[in-house]
Symmetry: C3
Subunit: 205 residues, 3 copies
């Protein structure tokens, strides 16, 4: 089930990334590359940080074809996908929490400290979007107040604490995904925002 949701999530990430690339008038190659970076960049960064080789897409390169296919399919469907705004946002939210749980699993397998497990989940869930924004030459959206990384933190925290308490893996994955997903959807619906640190005095002369 986690694997099915993983593919669904990757497809959703690829589609939102393709729309972002389209807004910057990128060519088809750029669309594919931004899609790959967004959908697979978080997991890649986590694996490089943990020294966990081979990378997921090196072991199973058909993921690359799936992502590029989803991205290219978005081009003719852009108008439709645009009207499907809510389904896409929901899939994106699902991706965030599913990636987080998968990232925590990799961290647990690698036997690292609990803090690093949570960080591995958060990197998996969020780093793809950061890389997308850097390549599109934006200040990453994730830093602009949306409740996104926090959702990942909460999801990973619930999942890890549940496992520590001896609860079964499948149950905890489900619980963490449902809670994280609900939190993200609520944040979107109610426009919850993180508090911001606004500081406009230039310190460096």
């Amino acid at each position: 089930m986690l694997i099915f949701m993983f593919y669904l999530a990757i497809t959703a990430e690829a589609m939102t990334a393709a729309l972002a690339a389209g807004r910057r008038n990128m060519d088809w190659f750029g669309v594919c590359l931004i899609a790959c970076v967004t959908a697979l960049g978080g997991g890649t960064m986590r694996d490089i940080m943990l020294g966990h080789y081979p990378l997921a897409w090196v072991a199973n390169p058909y993921i690359l074809l799936l992502v590029c296919g989803a991205a290219l399919a978005t081009i003719p469907l852009a108008r439709l996908v645009d009207r499907l705004k809510w389904p896409v946002l929901l899939l994106d939210a699902l991706g965030l929490v599913v990636f987080t749980v998968i990232g925590c699993n990799i961290g647990i397998e690698a036997g690292v400290h609990p803090i690093v497990v949570i960080v591995a989940g958060m990197v998996t869930g969020t780093a793809g979007g950061v890389l997308r924004d850097v390549l599109c030459n934006d200040i990453p959206l994730i830093f602009q107040g949306e409740l996104y990384a926090t959702v990942s933190l909460v999801t990973g925290g619930i999942y890890f604490l549940g496992l520590q308490a001896g609860l079964p893996v499948d149950l905890m994955a489900l619980v963490a995904i449902v809670i994280g997903f609900a939190l993200r959807v609520l944040a979107l619906a109610l426009k919850w925002e993180m508090p911001k640190f606004v500081y406009d005095r230039e310190m460096r002369k």
Copy 2:
């Protein structure tokens, strides 16, 4: 021969990178660093993705001196290099295809899936330029329609298919380099462009 072209290509990449740094009024250190990232970033990224250690420039650090030397030499020669626009573009095209073939070789050695071999070639050929543009705070040029990554894909594809068909390595390297180089030069001369995905409705509200 591949090694000779490798050094030629690295020098050319370092010089075009130095000009890009000069256009942004960087200091000498910035010029060297942008040159290193552009000339060596693709190979470094490929090696990190494949877990292929030590990195080329760690094993042979004189490459770093060559790149910095070429970059610094570009400073007094900028006016001249500017007039030599076509030679530099040709060397840059040569670099693209030579790096691609070298990247495919590393992928084949590492025993990865054919798709990953092609990706390794493409990353080697193109990622340096992407990193340069990110550090210079541009949307990477490669996403703006130039036939650049596609040339790398075609070069890698021809090379790999030839090897699969049992043709000798040296022959296929030469064939792939000649075809890729011709394709890139034609694309430059005829201003071929990739189709773009232009989409200007903001999806995220």
Copy 3:
């Protein structure tokens, strides 16, 4: 002593990073992430380049808590930290040279070529700031003429040459740190700058 200065330097880097994030109106999560990237990014990049696992913050994740704590503490203290401009700049200079010496040590342990040892020191000292500027969507400050990377080069050079000459490690660490620190402070006080390469003819059509 080096360890104590390491923690002091990490805290200082986290605080200056938090101010940079605040100037861009980031949320609290963004403040923590920019602080982690700035304080730990250089060491992480060095370890990934050398294939030196586990990363420092994976082995000792309490560093992450320290960095996030220092960053969040900067938010209410921003006005105060602003008035403490010189102490913060001094701590930042200390961080640069201490990180450089630590980076050289890791390079020496890994048994790489002297050039790579110096590069490892420089990456440790400076890459965090480069990553911070990329995430904040600036052209990295380090390329704009400040005597920053050069200080790192000189510090690493003195340290490594001293060790080669058979001088004791502790002495050389102290000497390199004092000289590097003095050089950076002089550069700040006297506004020394690296020569720039200004070149404004567009080469690519």
